[in-house]
């Protein structure tokens, strides 16, 4: 759904993991001028200061499912996170 500028997306819960059954806010998406440039900046930020960069999503037993659920968003093209682990995705439009 859209307000004409931004989207509000509703994705389905699943029972692939305990977390997957939980309803609620899931992730935020950003439009960027270049996904490749933003990915590079995020990688460099993580190297310069690991605590200030994105956290890896695909870690732990649930990691692959967590990543798969984020990839299910039809708007985002690249999946990442902020330093707190808030899930983010990026797209160029």
């Amino acid at each position: 759904m859209t307000d004409g500028v931004a989207y509000l997306a509703v994705m389905p819960c699943d029972n692939d993991s305990y977390r997957g059954m939980k309803e609620g806010l899931h992730h935020l998406g950003f439009r960027v001028e270049s996904v490749d440039n933003t990915k590079t900046e995020l990688e460099q930020l993580g190297v310069r200061s690991p605590a200030a960069g994105p956290r890896k999503i695909d870690v732990g037993r649930d990691g692959p499912i967590r990543l798969k659920n984020l990839q299910a968003c039809r708007i985002g093209k690249h999946q990442t996170s902020d330093p707190d682990g808030i899930l983010l995705d990026l797209a160029e439009e």
């Binding site: 759904m1 307000d3 931004a6 989207y7 997306a9 899931h26 935020l28 950003f30 960069g53």
Partner: protein
């Protein structure tokens, strides 16, 4: 009715680190002055940040509060219209007046799955600082807020009924992504 997604809030124990991340990577700028910090005191160094369209509140996580995405907010041109729709179609939804020091919104409510949202109208008395201004354009900005629901169609209908959000045909179907 005009509706705009204008606000997102995250509860964090790392305000400085998070604010720096969003400023550095996404070009956000501070638009309000002063927020509660870990001591519980008003800290003038903190504030909401923005991408020019949508304000971002990095709220101090206090005991008993879960870290992570907390709520989001709409600006509408007529709050009374939203409240009438809620009362008429979703009478079980709780509606609360927001705290006076909150700079964005006057009303807080929730959807049928419990996600909380603020409702703001530009003329409301407590809308202040950057939230009163027209904002700016920048190349990187928040494009979407995603939520999960056991029955996505039912939840989507709530936002369509109450806020007039429109389904995006090229992205949506009736079950897996609305």
């Amino acid at each position: 009715m005009e509706t705009r997604i204008k606000h997102v809030a995250i509860c964090t124990e790392n305000y400085d680190r998070m604010a720096e991340f969003y400023k550095t990577v996404f070009g956000m700028k501070k638009i309000t002055n002063g927020m509660t910090d870990a001591t519980g005191n008003y800290n003038p160094e903190r504030g909401h940040i923005s991408d020019g369209l949508i304000g971002y509140a990095l709220l101090q996580r206090q005991p008993g509060i879960t870290a992570g995405l907390d709520h989001f907010g709409f600006e509408v041109d007529d709050v009374s219209d939203v409240l009438e729709k809620l009362a008429e179609k979703y009478p079980d939804i709780l509606v609360s007046k927001t705290l006076d020091y909150v700079p964005f919104a006057g009303i807080r409510a929730h959807d049928p799955t419990g996600n909380q949202f603020d409702i703001s109208q530009n003329q409301m008395a407590n809308v202040r600082e950057g939230y009163k201004e027209s904002g700016w354009e920048q190349p990187r900005r928040l494009s979407h807020i995603a939520m999960r629901a056991i029955t996505p169609a039912r939840l989507a209908k709530f936002y369509q009924d109450v806020f007039g959000l429109e389904k995006v045909e090229k992205l949506s179907d009736s079950e897996n992504f609305i």
